[in-house]
Symmetry: D2
Subunit: 360 residues, 4 copies
Amino acid sequence: MSGNLFGSVFRITTWGESHGPALGVVIDGCPSGLKISEKDIQKELNRRKPGQSNITTSRKEDDKLEILSGIFEGHTTGTPISLIIKNKDHASKDYSELADKYRPSHADYTYDVKYGFRDHRGGGRASARETAGRVAAGAIAKKFLKTSAKVEILAYVKQIREIRSDVKLEKLKASQIESNAVRCPDAKAAKKMIALIEKMKKTGDSVGGIIECVIRNVPAGLGSPVFNKLDARLGQAMLSIPATKGFEIGSGFDAILMTGSQHNDPLLKKGRKVVTKSNNAGGVVGGISNGMDIVFRVAFKPTATIFKSQKTLTKGGKATKLKMSGRHDPCVLPRAVPIVEAMAALVLTDEHLIQKTVKI
Amino acid sequence: MSGNLFGSVFRITTWGESHGPALGVVIDGCPSGLKISEKDIQKELNRRKPGQSNITTSRKEDDKLEILSGIFEGHTTGTPISLIIKNKDHASKDYSELADKYRPSHADYTYDVKYGFRDHRGGGRASARETAGRVAAGAIAKKFLKTSAKVEILAYVKQIREIRSDVKLEKLKASQIESNAVRCPDAKAAKKMIALIEKMKKTGDSVGGIIECVIRNVPAGLGSPVFNKLDARLGQAMLSIPATKGFEIGSGFDAILMTGSQHNDPLLKKGRKVVTKSNNAGGVVGGISNGMDIVFRVAFKPTATIFKSQKTLTKGGKATKLKMSGRHDPCVLPRAVPIVEAMAALVLTDEHLIQKTVKI
Amino acid sequence: MSGNLFGSVFRITTWGESHGPALGVVIDGCPSGLKISEKDIQKELNRRKPGQSNITTSRKEDDKLEILSGIFEGHTTGTPISLIIKNKDHASKDYSELADKYRPSHADYTYDVKYGFRDHRGGGRASARETAGRVAAGAIAKKFLKTSAKVEILAYVKQIREIRSDVKLEKLKASQIESNAVRCPDAKAAKKMIALIEKMKKTGDSVGGIIECVIRNVPAGLGSPVFNKLDARLGQAMLSIPATKGFEIGSGFDAILMTGSQHNDPLLKKGRKVVTKSNNAGGVVGGISNGMDIVFRVAFKPTATIFKSQKTLTKGGKATKLKMSGRHDPCVLPRAVPIVEAMAALVLTDEHLIQKTVKI
Amino acid sequence: MSGNLFGSVFRITTWGESHGPALGVVIDGCPSGLKISEKDIQKELNRRKPGQSNITTSRKEDDKLEILSGIFEGHTTGTPISLIIKNKDHASKDYSELADKYRPSHADYTYDVKYGFRDHRGGGRASARETAGRVAAGAIAKKFLKTSAKVEILAYVKQIREIRSDVKLEKLKASQIESNAVRCPDAKAAKKMIALIEKMKKTGDSVGGIIECVIRNVPAGLGSPVFNKLDARLGQAMLSIPATKGFEIGSGFDAILMTGSQHNDPLLKKGRKVVTKSNNAGGVVGGISNGMDIVFRVAFKPTATIFKSQKTLTKGGKATKLKMSGRHDPCVLPRAVPIVEAMAALVLTDEHLIQKTVKI
């Protein structure tokens, strides 16, 4: 309904505005007995937090996690897990201009129409800061998947503007992704990407790109038929991340250039495991995982916050100009990598639990 | 949960297998007082039904609608609307081969893993025949949107394999789309597409392509923040349609080649209406409609059912070959057009009703 | 939301009006592999159908079940099960008076206010005939519970007006309940109850009473904390049955006359099983089953349909009198017994499936 | 599913254990534009908090509310409202005995079976302390109902053990309820009740009773048919409150002693309003409000925590004795009054918002 809830069995509700006292997430439906520590969660939050490098925003937020419920003696109890992150860097700025002028390609105007009233400070609820709650919840989902099925989720920056990386998915490791500020495991491409982002930062402009995600050791049989197909749920999850414009799985938009006989993935046996020769499906057939790696890509637009003068309207509907100042990411992708992983983990955890109810 | 339910307020549950006695849909949460007739619904079903032209399957199904509840004296009563379509053409074939051999890139193997047991006749629940229920429900949603907000939803075949059409969205009319068998309003491109599909049919192969959808007169303010962003919900809806591999909205994957200053859509006034100069957003900003046309595209893979010999496995895990026979669409797109429209209508109707609860 | 959906994992949606062409239910989330036949379901429908005896309505409805989907070769497939019952006895009567006059203590006025428009024939959606769908779905739930956990659910008529039965719950058998028309296993009391109901029938009046339900072999651990406590869900389930006015579990309203030291149920071991010495809890502690028998009672008001002249209003708000004619139950309890069992089965099946997701 | 979520449109999720760092509630779906202050909420929390009088527990908890999100410049923004209450009085006690011995008629054993693991300190999640979150959310719901429809909800203690009060519902005022420690507006009965509770406190025993609730100015048309009947939802809401054993509406269990002609409520006009002569329905007909006062009663068992020696089992299944010490309410009803009101407010607010979506 109101859109702040995600999931069926493993459900999360995020709350909080970028400039309120705190933001957080309540995780409801996490199985009992999962070993989890503050450190497991903080580690993922640190990958998302601002100020990590000179190609991200220089805003200072520690994004320090507090666990308020649901974990006892280092294990989940099956009751709601409440996680909270206090906002630190929020009182410093004058937001009066943003109270009156709509930022182009931000949610200012649409929120005003929807609710008739809005916390305008820093984007309020529409701020990407909201995703901190998702990443915290996703850290628990990742731990659950790793513990119960050795599932591994790796996302990385595949492309920034026209700079494409060359990455072998089979050999991709988490350490490679974390080895540079742009989270692209192809060192050459990463260097170019960083240079491009730095250039954009200087000119007050921004760029977008593509994040690719691979999920390994997915048990076959996850995903629900018809409307909650695993790829459909992953699609919704990814398109719910701010600044996304597209999603594709497996062959994706390139599928349209193949014939059926080229695109179909023949089934065969590899030891005891049923596999497919090719993986145009991207690991999901008929909405249900087939045990192959799940592979998908997400398109991110260039950051809407730029520091050039833009034409826009005031709240009252008068034409005006707006030139923003402050600290913002000229490219959201490096910090979006853990968000993509978190959302994928939330979907898979939910379907993993749903699958337990499917057979008598 | 189980995936057969779609929507929050305007909720539909589809049921039925391709080779059972019937299939249908229950619509729960349709407001009372909507004028609706069997004809309104049958018209949409006819656009989806098999045997429409020589580029679709020659299977014979009348897809004759019966209304069993929820409509009284030509108007909805606010109670569940039960719609049913009897299966006619289902007893004729021998499905024993399909009981034992997994069709590549079909859901045979994944359903078997998921449920341990499966109605193998004609794809069972995974058959695209299931979408008849969606189209029927979508017809009511379309009527609701038209009646309450003059919303118009138009989808068409934009591309088949490498054949791209050239269509001005502003001038697009329903009659143009229905003017040829492939549902592409660009007559020249349509001719080439039809020729290509006919060629595929002859060789027993298949092709895919892109459907584009434009939605006009969308009130600003529809869509829910965070996880149920309007674009995220549309994404899920489209990716739940069989054979889809990708979804993009507005600038989509092309957004990655622009800078922020190129991509941002400046706000301005057009008469009394707030509009944007460009529409890279595709009508949705921060997950909420901004009153501009909603524009999105969906990629469909080539039909998995082909009539060439394919390597696969038996249920028991032995390598085998499968050569299917029968009647199938060499390209699903012409019949998928009303499904795309139906799913879009279901999402918009739901968010339209949700919006009524948002302000005090 | 709209109230026609019940359950979280094992979800049912009932649809249909008493005087439309048919009514039915879609069961979504039933695990695959459950053996079930039309006979299993028809048996329960026969216990609810009209015309069973001279103390129930003499309306003629066969309530003949048709299975349209979700069951293949005698087993559930995990896909939606669509069950349908055609209405036979519906065209015979003139309902014009009921279109204009509100029947006291019926839902005529409240539906008109809620929806602004209503199928007035025979109560439309508010007719108790809707419960046929619940009983059909409940038959599957009962089979599931019996198959997977040997759970047995027995309801019976405990009291009609001031006539109380004397029944030992430990010895209660299904055959005793079915041994007479009023479904009271105490033969003496049953005789008096039947006489009272027959008397009411003659005078055109009606009576109510209490149904008690015992559930055996309930695994400990079912039920969800806080809002979905097992007793709270049973309460909602029972109070959703037409004509109910109250629900109590275990000691119920009598609990208020005890002290804590009298009411607390001491825990002890009986062989390997943890039991309680007394069962004031009624089998549910903190909202979760403790393995003891679940025992609850439901109060039913006297049937609102009576054949005496009553003061009421017309749709236009003018004072008038209404004297109904036709065939109605002077006491709903005998036919409500299978409905109580069905609703209990639906709750327990749902919580049984939910419990599978609770531990890592 | 997991039971910590309540509501469809106006949804709340409570979280927190009695002895964790904090507990709270997230309210999702509250309309924007509602004027609300910390004071509005704190006032209700104060009615529930421990240590109010010498007939309640002497535990010290300020139950000081903090608003963390969703309210900006004194008004709701339509985004999630996060409310938090820090636990103060939680580190003082040694809970090692309760880690090993199951308290009779508490949820210790059932939680252990359900989750296999439990925060045993002070009842953990099963503690009635959880209801603080409900009362906080209920305060917002009450404000919403008052603001948008002048709905007034009043609960009071009607009976403690055998001591019945004599209260005219038509004349009942909030100030009368708050005029004494037991929250019974009949001063004479209140005095006796207080004396009885004090006596129980001295002997280490406990008592239960009945709370009655009346809701005025309810618009006709609220409540959803079939499973979510307004009375069924109120029933679930009340039975989800710890220590409840029964619920009845209007005539309740006494309905069984009347005939239909005595029980039916004749419709008539009072000025422009449709009313009924009697109100045996308790304000709800066919699950939908008819505009009359809603009247229901809830039975509470005597507090399970008593200070006498009780037989029970250890976690390992050995017979043992338990004699609790500490500070507990010998009767939960005085502090349960605001909880009953809160839960009623949550149901009505939800149905009020749902009703906005019902007509075209």
